[in-house]
Point group: C2
Chain length 373, copies 2
Amino acid sequence: MKRIYLDYASATPVRKEALKAMMPYFSEEFGNPNSTHHYGAEALEAVEEAREKIAKTINASPGEIVFTSGGTESDNLAVKGVAYAKMQQGKNIITTPIEHEAVANTCRYLGEKGFDITYLPVDVDGAVSAADVRAKITPRTTLVTIMHANNEVGTIQPIEDMFGIVTEKGVTTHSDAVQSYGLIPINVKSMKIDLLSVSAHRIGGPKGVGTLYVKEGTELVPVLHGKDHERGRRPGTLNVPGIVGFSVAAELAMKEMKKESKRQSKLRDLFTNYITENMKGVKLNGHPKKRLPNNINLSFDGITGDELVKELDRHHIAVSTSSNSNILRVIGVTGEKAMGSVRITLGRETTEKDVRNVMHVLQKIVDDARKKY
Amino acid sequence: MKRIYLDYASATPVRKEALKAMMPYFSEEFGNPNSTHHYGAEALEAVEEAREKIAKTINASPGEIVFTSGGTESDNLAVKGVAYAKMQQGKNIITTPIEHEAVANTCRYLGEKGFDITYLPVDVDGAVSAADVRAKITPRTTLVTIMHANNEVGTIQPIEDMFGIVTEKGVTTHSDAVQSYGLIPINVKSMKIDLLSVSAHRIGGPKGVGTLYVKEGTELVPVLHGKDHERGRRPGTLNVPGIVGFSVAAELAMKEMKKESKRQSKLRDLFTNYITENMKGVKLNGHPKKRLPNNINLSFDGITGDELVKELDRHHIAVSTSSNSNILRVIGVTGEKAMGSVRITLGRETTEKDVRNVMHVLQKIVDDARKKY
């Protein structure tokens, strides 16, 4: 039986174009971009070309792109970087209770270190509001960090509305866009984003590489210390093949975004509508409309999320669960439904046949589980 | 004209066996090792197999291997990790003035944060002594961090002698082995190493991956915050292909170490002897015997290091210079020689023909430069 992978929010296969572009940089043009000889120059050229490509995808300048080891490091650098750089000015950070652990646990850590963390209210759809952001900003606020789209339920936040207010007050803005980058448009200028975290392996690039966009002039204390690379913002030998692969995947994602977004959201709605119309005791988590084109998050009475993942895996279908995350509690999903959430995330390789297949299997698994208990 | 690469201390080509082993993990077995389904399990299995292989190379247990993005992150995690974990006990850290920037600048940063950094004396060969370490330890000392072999001049430190004394006093030991790992034997148990930093791209593995060995029971505060991976020591999605390639390169390096070490040190001595016997105004930097088998570091009157690198590059030969590092000042190289150091580092692909070729070209470049001035 053919395997069906519907967990694109966790990892994606590296696209063949990206892998092909990476290949020469492993064993042939293998220089350290920091070296001044021919091999170093070749590596540096590849990195700078990639930097330019990635900058273009978010309407940034190449000098504003800092390469990191991935989304987690980018989030750490953004949040701690601003918190420490501006701590003389104030120690208040505004965030949401539904951030990815890379932001959430960094904020928690800063909380333990004497920073004051303000959590915005989240509505039943998983959204925060510009009015709440405005109300919470104080003269001691130095950073507002709000994810672009939620990793579990896919809700897209009104970044532009919120960050417009925030930047007007001279407060730095950060958005974790690991889940949205490549799926929906991001323009750091019009969206008033000062810092943006992105990961390559969520868009058909390789694992182990990401970027932090840092708006020109943004003060940032580095998280890692060492050689003076990336304009003093991130030391460590650059992962040249990873960076090259990332840039190719990013370019392709931008080129195909419109078409893929339309295609995937159609499949998403087909799936969601079928399940909600044909089954009882089911709830769609996250905003019904303002959500990532590839995200389906459903809660079921009568079966736990872990069981759902396991049963689907037995049917050669790979998905994830949100039952172990705090998102369901925050958006008010209670009782059995809080235990029975499944996150299904579509991708480039997903076909209508896959989707129809999985929705029927899922229906049967839930029905069978309910018969047993 | 064929290019000759003699800068293996900066970067090495990924070995074909390592690259071959990595390939399936980019686009086929591309799961996130954190996922509980089939794809995740496959990725996790690959990671755990790699962990076991790497642990074996230094006589450690798999659970003591923490995967990172490379040597710089490993050094940061080790030094800051222990400094903060034990700060109630004391704030003294002992190190050397010739560490790689990843350790040196981390110590400098901690110095600014109120830690007290003790620098050991370094002799003219670039070595530190066990007696000095013993003399400097205080009840407030929590960490001794000393590189295994110097990245510029190749001097190997008497780690076992020093760390024996250090661990007896209950102080944690860290060694940056980025330059030595894979070239000379490392046994964390007999050498009394609590923390050891290693980078994959120095041994024929890919860029963007490394490890920190953390002896069971060692207290460590994480540097990055996020998901609870690597036993809570390092968050972020694991770079599965990178880790697999690293482990294959590590295994091969160990298998070939004896033979390669002998072969490379013979070439090293051939080169050094030719230059020092046939030229005037030249000095071998670093210990004459206790040095890495692949390291040649020479200072010349009458030409700067930057010019040497540039001229050799014009002859299609890639090397590095130590003139921009502080090592020469620390070991007492002064005057013109401090400006004219070249670092030549051999590798698996280096042949005797390459070495003979480069030594003659180098001689001619220096002679020509001296005629001009």
